[in-house]
Amino acid sequence: MEHESKEIISMYNIPVGEYKLVNSEEEAIKFSNKIGYPVVAKLMSPDIVHKTEAGVIKLNLMSDNEVSNAFNNVIQIAKNYYHAVKIIGVNIQKMAENGVVEIIIGAMRDVNFGPVLMFGLGGIFVEIFKDVSYRVCPISISEAEKMIQSIKSFPLLDGYRGKPKADIESIRNILIKCSKMLMDNPEINELDLNPVIVFEKGKGAMVVDARIILKEAH
């Protein structure tokens, strides 16, 4: 589940926005006020994998009222979706600001060579142009840098046509931390950080959504 995945990646100091799994309207409002508006509410249920398609993600909530409506709304949608749906709670997190680019960091475990990291720019760059780079873990700082520089769309990270430069150093750090996490935890089979918002140089990056798939127990 997303909140569990985020917990694991936070342990490796990979930046995820503040988030909390809540089980009541009151809790949702209290936490939203703590982190400040706008916020996002996502329903957490093992029965609903494709949250966007199911309509259980509510973005850009600006007030206590909107948070309380969203909380009830996503639970209702889930119950309509499947009468015996198992609900873990609702995840409240800060709505991410726009960054310079969105990236994807993924990993899978190869049967011969172990964990393999993937890096690419989000959206069409990965889906249509397949513009991604791979490295077998563990990776060094210089390998992480080469991995970032070797995608064709690298200029978009590097101040293309007057756009601000993205914080490449934080991408590099996330890659290295992911590599360490994958090496330390052989039970992690797949990793998908998608999207990760990268801000201007010096301002960091933030994982918006995370998914970790563990090896099936034998």
Binding site: D110, N112, F113, V116, Y134, V136, S150
Partner: protein
């Protein structure tokens, strides 16, 4: 770490026992014995056979125990159910290295027999090459394969999980490529020695200068990457991964029970380690031959000396679209070349002689001028005809055979060889003196004696585009080394 001396029985045997060889030439085991003898193996051979007293002139023994002398290596080509029993005999005799050619184990689903084989081998400290393998070559005198084309000795070693790719290209090596081989190792099902072990052996092997790998599955992936990364800085490693598409994966699974890795994983390993991936077996051998024969290019500037416009242009296109330069020569250098060229020729690079029969200018004078200059880092030729050309030309109808000009041509053709060899000696000296790669391209094979001579003396001869790709990849490797050394500082 492997102990190299535990592999000595494979690579330096003084005596070899054969199981499965008989007086029937067509038997698989017999082929291997015959090829070993024909390659000029000067050690002792002990055929083991339940009935025969003599096999192809060698005294045969009922069991290995009947052999009183020390045996360094045993080769088995028997039905699979007999292997483990013989293996035990070998263990008791103290034999430490066994090549199991026989198939019919894990690859057909018989895990038990193969596990038992490992147990016996480990128990007696035996290293097994195989089972289900195609044997080995240690040039020039050891050829324990079914392919009777022993190669000349050189610095190339190949380790292969495919038996066919390990040994059958020996035909192309002998007839076309002319590469010099140190060792060929067919690892088969890797029951207790694998690709990684042999890589460690080759790292230490002073006779090996470049390494080719065919693999489907790597049982110790991490170790493999570390080793390739380390060895590739000293000896270039060229790889062909097998089983990259659905059909390829299916095929690999069924023939060695291998689980392959997807192409992007292999590509990322190549980027990390600098190993060079190629697509086909001939590319691999051509490139290994380049590494074995030539110094690495120190820069990306290529001089092309051609007897035809087309190859000059295509070669230029390929070089320039793959990271190399075919630079325009300076006026000064062009002036130095001009006196030695026909008036119709072009002195800009490619240097196109169109047609010239002055072989001394083509093979000595102009290469010397070019290689001496710092305007080029490598030299590639297109075009040369030898005695075979005249043999074909003079294959005329009977009524022309006595014609006087035909007779003159015949004597000319016969003189070619000696004339060429003097020029080649000089050219080879230039290559060594200036330490720059020199490649000749043409459409002839080793039937043409000049091709064989050049290849055997360190100037590779390829088809035109093959030669271009060899140089491009050698430059990529040289650049990888350069950037890696800078990285260390």
């Amino acid at each position: 770490m492997v102990k190299i001396e535990e592999f000595n029985g494979f690579f330096k045997p003084k005596s070899v026992a054969f199981y499965g060889a008989s007086n029937m030439m067509q038997k698989f085991g017999t082929l291997h014995l015959v090829n070993l003898v024909s390659a000029g193996f000067d050690g002792k051979i002990f055929p083991i056979h339940p009935k025969e007293d003599e096999i192809l002139g060698f005294k045969a023994y009922k069991t290995i125990n009947d052999v009183s002398e020390q045996v360094d290596l045993a080769v088995m080509a028997t039905p699979p159910h007999l292997v483990n029993g013989f293996l035990k005999d070998c263990g008791q005799k103290g034999i430490k290295n066994v090549i199991v050619l026989s198939g019919g184990f894990l690859e057909v689903g018989d895990k038990n027999t193969q596990d038992k084989m490992k147990e016996i081998a480990d128990n007696y400290n035996i290293k097994i090459m195989g089972p289900n393998c195609s044997g080995e070559v240690v040039a020039p005198n050891i050829n324990i394969t079914h392919v009777p084309w022993p190669p000349r000795k050189g610095g190339i070693s190949i380790v292969s999980q495919s038996g066919t790719y390990a040994v059958q290209p020996l035909i192309a090596i002998s007839e076309k490529i002319g590469a010099g081989i140190s060792k060929i190792i067919s690892v088969g099902n890797e029951v207790n020695t694998d690709l990684v072990d042999y890589l460690e052996v080759l790292e230490e092997d002073v006779e090996t200068s470049s390494i080719g790998l065919y693999f489907e599955t790597v049982r110790r992936g991490k170790k493999f990457i570390d080793l390739v990364e380390r060895i590739n800085l000293k000896k270039p490693i060229v790889i062909i991964p097998i089983g990259q598409t659905d059909a390829g994966i299916r095929s690999a699974k069924s023939h060695t029970a291998a689980i392959t890795s997807p192409g992007y994983v292999i590509d990322s390993i190549c980027e990390q380690t600098g190993a060079i991936k190629v697509q086909n077996s001939i590319d691999m051998l051509n490139l290994l031959n380049g590494f074995d024969s030539l110094p690495l290019p120190k820069g990306n500037k290529v001089g092309i000396l051609t007897m035809g416009g087309g190859p000059g242009s295509l070669m230029s296109d390929l070089f320039e679209s793959n990271g190399m330069k075919v630079p325009l020569l300076s006026n000064d250098l062009q002036e130095k070349l001009k006196p030695w060229m026909p008036e119709t020729a072009s002195t800009i690079n490619p240097i196109d002689l169109t047609y010239s029969d002055d072989m001394q200018n083509y093979l000595n004078v102009m290469p010397d001028i070019l290689l001496k200059s710092d305007e080029i880092d490598s030299l590639i030729f297109y075009g040369l005809m030898g005695t075979e050309y005249y043999n074909h030309l003079l294959n005329v109808p009977d009524y022309l055979k006595d014609n006087e000009s035909v007779q003159t041509m015949r004597s000319f053709g016969e003189m070619m060889e000696e004339f060429f060899i003097a020029l080649f000696e000089e050219l080879i000296e230039f290559k060594n003196k200036y330490q720059k790669p020199v490649i000749l391209t043409c459409y002839s094979t080793r039937k043409e004696k000049f091709v064989a001579y050049l290849q055997d003396h360190g100037i590779p001869v390829y088809y035109p585009e093959e030669g271009v790709w060899v140089l491009i990849r050698m430059w990529q490797y040289a650049r990888f080394l350069q950037s890696n050394q800078k990285g260390c500082i």
